[in-house]
């Protein structure tokens, strides 16, 4: 399954990052951060002809030697990034899509909590459990 799941705010700072092998956390941080280049490019290309509805799922952002990075952008420009290992061939596009949908749903649930201030780092236990179930 996924090795890293990240939620990035509209202003491109991280709201939540979870990585499974915690020893090389920093590398994943960099991977997620650099993937924002591609996300921004993809979103801005669609932005030009705004009448057509943008698909939230951006697909494979870029492949590295070891990992595949997938992206998803909500309508409020909150970004989700999922990193899977390149060697993991069982995950097809459809599975990734459903993972993002699940992540989006649980993010919305988390956001609906009146005690959560939008823009703050995510600390919700429920959200964390959903994320862990995907890893």
């Amino acid at each position: 399954m996924a090795v890293c799941v990240a939620v990035i705010a509209k202003e491109n700072y991280p709201l939540y990052i979870k990585t499974i092998p915690t020893d090389n956390e920093l590398k994943f941080y960099y991977t997620v951060h650099t993937s924002l280049d591609v996300v921004e490019e993809k979103v801005s290309v669609v932005g030009k002809n705004s009448n057509e509805l943008r698909e939230l799922y951006l697909g494979l952002l870029y492949p590295t030697e070891d990992y595949k990075v997938y992206g998803y952008v909500t309508n409020t420009k909150v970004k989700f990034v999922i990193v899977v290992e390149s060697s993991n061939t069982t995950l097809r596009d459809n599975e990734i899509r459903s993972m993002f949908r699940k992540l989006h749903n649980s993010y919305v649930d988390m956001l609906s909590n009146p005690f959560y201030t939008p823009g703050e780092p995510i600390t919700s236990k429920t959200f964390e459990n959903i994320v862990l179930s995907m890893m």
Binding site: A9, P14, L26, Y29, H33, D37, V38, T64, E65, P118
Partner: protein
């Protein structure tokens, strides 16, 4: 220098056919030299791809194997590809040998020369024994050739030369040494190119022929080798498509080889070679996707084939090289017009190359220990001696599966490791990262670029180039701050701090500390504590403790640097807004505006967020006007190490974590700033004293939050007050505000304006201004200004004058700065303002009073400039309407008047003014076409009109003869003023001019005048007389006819015919005897001129009276009584 990181130059170049030029003496023979130059100098890309070498006539070419193998049955190959093979065919074995020979067709010593030439050909042939190399002869001739077929001698001699040299006629060429050398050269070279192609084609075919002798079990290596050779020959032949096909086959055969630790390196090296060729050709054929796919396949296959674990670094080196080569190829293709995209460009390959290099470095660190006994040259010799690419020098040609000699193996590995440990890995990694950075920059990936720069910084750090590392990291940190990726920022800061420590850069060290201790970095609490302690040491002019995990040798050097650093005082500034520091500052003015006589108050809020309290040395605020700066300083009275919060001499800059503190400054604004702004340009907090080390922490402008809060819906909620009930500061509610406007002091003057609206057009409208001083002190330099409009544009319809009502035709629309006398407190001063409005409508009148007053504040006398502004709106209306009627003498309205006949002009004045208006006089000004019939005297003198009242006067005028059909009469002027019961000021009369109408002129031949008394009485004689004037220069015949009337009896001519002489008059006398009283019709007179029959009667009727009033008979009074 191991196999993994090197590629032979023969492989990287583009193979071109080799042509050897023999018999050219390029050192001593100028002609030969010029021929050689024509072949090899300035080769443009459109010329055929060939390589030329000059050889001696007896040059030894590499020997061909004499014993041609007929069978491979017992042959066991020792390796895949020989190291010398490519070089041999690129540079040593020519496709064509060309023998140059000076020989003209008309050579006298033909026989001898012919023999000499044949000998040379023979020598070359012998040297090429066994090879398919083509031989051809070029005769260098001095004379230009004749057209073909004409030179019989040439044909004959050429044939004999060919037969003597055993040369086909096609291989004999003539090169006339004339002006067109380059042209001939190109033709020759094309011929050689054809020859070379057929040579390489033949060679490839020869290799292909071996295939039948091979078997899959023992000759697997040969399958690869032969396909490679065929491909390479095809490349030399410039047939890249065929070459690509054969390289693919070679690669396919290669992957089928049995792989084990002993031959894996050889396979990888050769796979790398073939892959390089494949990718290069795919890009060349404009099929980049094929190239990328091939490379992926290649990498995926070999990624996991590490081989001997002790030499794993070799695998990483090889991987890195593969990626780098592919990146270079890709980049090369882009330069030739290929377009790449953000997710597929050379940068990724360079990045991977760098990653593998980093892995290589780490593996090297793990396995390799440098030992003293290393002999690089010996190692190089051993490498050079190898026959096959990718083999181990301690067991060359080893192809069996059996394990090799373990002792030799161990020694060899140790030596390789030793060699590896001497490699400067950073020198490999950094250029690779640099290439990647350039690519990512080009393909709009700023974050990736930054990441790579961080890696570069780290690499410099590992390479002990701390200065560079620090510089590079500082450059990229900024962006991570901006995007708030605190974990990444923290990791960069930690390295940066280490570099700053090792280079003893105080400024960077302090700046990094300030950030690392701050609340945003993700350091552990004890780590922050340690760093803060170090910061305290640095500020107290001590050396800090070394950062953990540093190379002890470097730490020793750093310690020396630190101790030498502390000798001199060091003052430096740090921009706080470009980092996310532990201390935050917000400065604000208490109010948006401040009057000139009130103190400006500044509050500076400071907050620190770190493990321990901190004491700062000095706080100062800089304003745009520097004279205030002296008031905005606080200097802490304690030393940096004083640890308690006590009252002290200057102030107290001891800050406790998370307890915001406020510092207040106040000062009176300067006179120059009144009407302007005061701005906070800079806030500076000094850490440490100037005698030792002092960090000046600067905030541009009024400062603000270290990290700007994200805008969310909660920010729209009302703010909490700054000070809550418990008197604790609410930091988030403080908003930095760095601008205050200084407004003039509020005036305490009273201005009364007395006037009576509305104003009448043209009059001098009186306004009484009264100024009362309600200040505590006397005011001086009082100046009064009156304006009719605030804008620059002047109002041209309103005239102003003060004290005296004067209007000299020039409009004065504003009065500025009229000096007035000083006013003691409570004193009054008055002025009369006259306003003359030339047009009706509304307008605003502005009154300004500027004055100086002395204000006492804090035992200080401040002269203050004050201004009082008043404004009122003035409505202007017309005082009256004047209509002028033109009438005949019978008081009938007319538009036509007769020349020389009097008529009446009657002005009627309707008063529309709400105020009574007093008319002093009226006058009339006539044009030259009209004259008065009597002297004019105004009938309106002294008349006073109230609203809706009306006045009229009547003026008798007479038009003079004129050529114009219509004439204007002139103007009518009224002299008037508003009537007042008790006039405040004597306002003068004003004149208003009205135009008189225009009339049409008419000229008649005669005029008729009737003289009759004002009235008659019944039964009393009433004599009347018609006088007829002839105005023409001719005698006129006239018939007059008087009708009988019931009201009168009359005596006179009832019907008469007479003649009037020019310019003379004729009288017709009648005696009437009225019969009835009342307003009765006179007997009608009809006049007819014989010259103008039927026209005159009507005109005459109009000009003479038709009625008369007849009184009844008087009654005797006695009778009534």
């Amino acid at each position: 220098m191991s196999w993994g990181s090197e590629l032979p130059a023969e492989l990287l170049c583009r193979p071109t056919g080799l042509i050897a030029l023999s018999g050219l003496d390029i050192t001593y023979n100028a002609i030969h030299k010029s021929i050689w130059d024509a072949f090899c100098n300035n080769r443009r890309p459109d010329r055929v791809p060939l390589q030329f070498i000059v050889v001696q006539g007896d040059h030894e070419f590499p020997k061909c194997r004499t014993n041609k193998r007929q069978s491979y049955e017992w042959y066991i190959p020792k390796g895949i590809l020989k190291t010398n093979w490519m070089r041999k065919h690129l540079n040593l074995v020519p496709a064509v040998v060309v023998i140059f020979f000076d020989l003209d067709w008309d050579e006298p010593l033909w026989k001898e020369k012919q023999m000499e030439c044949a000998t040379r050909v023979e020598i070359v042939r012998n040297a090429l024994q066994g090879r398919g190399t083509k031989v051809s002869v070029v005769l260098i001739q001095k004379n230009a050739p004749l057209p073909p077929g004409e030179d019989v001698v040439a044909v004959e001699r050429a044939a004999s030369l060919c037969s003597l040299c055993d040369l086909s006629a096609k291989h004999l060429y003539v090169l006339p040494h004339t002006d067109h050398l380059v042209g001939y050269t190109i033709r020759l070279e094309n011929a050689f190119y054809d020859l070379s192609q057929s040579y390489y084609h033949g060679e490839a075919k020869k290799v292909k022929a071996h295939r039948d002798f091979l078997n899959k079990t023992t000759h697997q290596l040969l399958f690869v080798r032969h396909q490679f050779k065929i491909a390479f020959y095809n490349e030399l032949k410039q047939d890249t498509h065929t070459a690509l096909k054969h390289y693919k086959q070679a690669y396919g055969h290669l992957l089928e080889l049995r792989m084990h630790d002993t031959n894996l390196l050889e396979i990888k090296v050769n796979a790398g070679f073939i892959n390089y060729k494949l990718c290069r050709m795919s890009f060349l054929h404009n099929a980049p996707l094929d190239g990328i796919a091939q490379f992926r396949k290649h990498i995926d296959f070999f990624k996991s084939k590490v081989g001997i674990a002790e030499l794993a670094f070799e695998h990483s080196a090889w991987m890195s090289k593969q990626f780098q080569l592919f990146g270079d190829l890709f980049d090369e293709a882009i330069k030739l017009g290929l377009t790449a995209i953000q997710t597929q460009h050379p940068g990724f390959y360079y990045q991977q190359a760098a990653n593998h290099s980093i892995a290589r470095k780490q593996l090297c660190r793990g396995f390799c220990k440098p030992s003293l006994k290393t002999d690089e040259t010996a190692y190089l010799e051993k490498m050079k001696a190898l026959d096959f690419y990718g083999q181990r020098y301690w067991r060359p040609n080893h192809q069996s599966i059996d394990p090799p000699d373990p002792v030799k193996e161990k020694e060899g590995i140790a030596e390789l490791q030793n060699m590896e440990s001497r490699v400067d890995h950073s020198a490999i990694i950094i250029p690779q990262l640099n290439s990647a950075v350039a690519q990512f920059k080009k393909y709009k990936s700023p974050r990736m670029k930054r990441y790579l720069m961080v890696q570069m910084g780290e690499e410099y750090y590992h390479g002990k180039d701390y200065q560079r590392s620090l510089m590079l990291l500082c450059k990229v940190m900024w962006d991570y701050r901006g995007e708030r990726w605190w974990p990444l920022l923290t990791s960069i800061l930690v390295i940066s701090l280490k570099c700053a420590y090792l280079t003893a850069k105080v400024q960077d060290y302090v700046s990094n500390c300030l950030e690392l201790i701050g609340p945003y970095t993700k350091c552990a609490a004890e780590e922050k504590t340690r760093i803060q302690m170090n910061l305290l040491r640095v500020i107290s002019n001590d050396a800090p403790e070394p950062e953990p995990g540093l190379d002890p040798a470097c730490v020793e050097k750093a310690k020396v640097l630190w101790s030498s650093n502390s000798v001199e005082p060091c003052v430096f500034s740090i921009e706080m807004q470009s980092i996310v520091p532990l201390v935050e500052c917000k400065a604000k003015f208490k109010a948006d505006t401040v009057p000139a006589d009130v103190e400006v108050e500044i509050e500076v809020f400071l907050r620190i967020k770190c493990p321990f309290p901190m004491r700062f040395y000095k706080l100062s605020v800089a304003l745009n006007n520097q004279i205030y700066n002296q008031y905005c300083e606080i200097i802490d009275g304690h030393g940096i190490s004083a640890a308690s919060e006590m009252e002290s001499r200057g102030g107290d800059l001891y800050l406790v974590p998370d307890k915001p503190k406020v510092f207040r400054f106040s000062f009176l604004p300067a006179q120059d700033d009144v009407g302007g702004k005061i701005e906070i340009t800079d806030v500076t907090l000094e850490l440490g004293t100037r005698t030792a080390r002092c960090a000046q922490l600067h905030w541009m402008g009024p400062g603000g939050d270290a990290v700007i809060q994200v805008q969310t819906a909660q920010h729209l909620l009302p703010k909490k007050p700054i000070y809550s009930i418990e008197d604790t500061l609410n930091w988030d509610s403080v908003e930095a505000q760095g601008l205050v406007r200084v407004i003039p002091r509020a005036s305490l003057l009273d201005v009364l304006i007395e006037h009576q609206q509305p104003c009448l057009q043209n009059e001098f409208y009186v306004c009484q201004l009264t100024i009362i001083n309600k200040e505590d002190t006397a005011i001086s330099d009082v100046r009064l200004s009156i304006e009719t409009s605030e804008s620059e544009e002047e109002d041209q319809t309103t005239h102003l004058c003060l004290d005296n009502a004067v209007f000299g035709g020039h409009i004065v629309s504003n009065i500025s700065k009229v000096s007035m006398e000083e006013l003691a407190p409570g004193e009054k001063s008055s002025k009369t303002l006259f306003i003359k409005c030339l047009q009706t409508g509304n307008r605003n009148i502005f009154i300004y009073i500027n004055y100086m007053v002395e204000v006492h504040k804090k035992n200080q006398v401040i002269p203050c400039m004050c201004q009082k502004k008043e404004m009122f709106m003035l409505n202007c209306v017309e005082p009256f309407e004047v209509t002028v009627k033109v009438m005949s003498m019978k008081f009938e309205a007319t538009e036509v008047v007769q020349v020389d006949e009097p008529f009446l002009a009657m002005p009627e004045i309707h008063c529309t003014s709400p105020w009574p208006v007093e008319i002093q006089d009226s006058s009339i000004k006539l044009t030259s076409y009209v004259v008065h019939t009597d002297t004019f005297q105004s009938q309106l003198q002294g008349v006073c009109l109230k609203k809706t009242e009306c006045a009229a006067e009547c003026i008798s005028l007479k038009p003079l003869n004129s050529i114009h059909p219509t004439v204007s009469l002139g103007t009518y002027t009224l002299h008037w003023r508003r009537k007042r019961e008790n006039s405040i000021a004597e306002e003068p009369f004003v004149s208003t001019v009205f135009p008189l109408p225009t009339v049409s002129l008419e000229q008649l031949p005669i005029s008729v005048e009737l003289r009759l008394p004002a009235y008659g009485s019944v039964k009393t004689l009433l004599p009347i007389c018609y006088t007829i004037h002839n105005k023409t220069p001719y005698p006129q015949e006239i018939e007059v006819n008087v009708e009988a009337s019931d009201s009168f009896m009359f005596a006179g001519n009832k019907q008469v015919h007479f003649r009037v002489l020019p310019r003379k008059a004729y009288n017709l006398m009648y005696n009437l005897f009225p019969l009835m009283p009342g307003h009765v019709l006179l007997p009608k007179m009809h006049l007819n001129m014989l010259r103008y029959p039927g026209t005159m009667d009507l005109i005459v009727q109009k000009s003479v009276p038709t009625h008369i009033f007849i009184k009844p008979m008087g009654k005797a009074l006695e009778k009534a009584a």
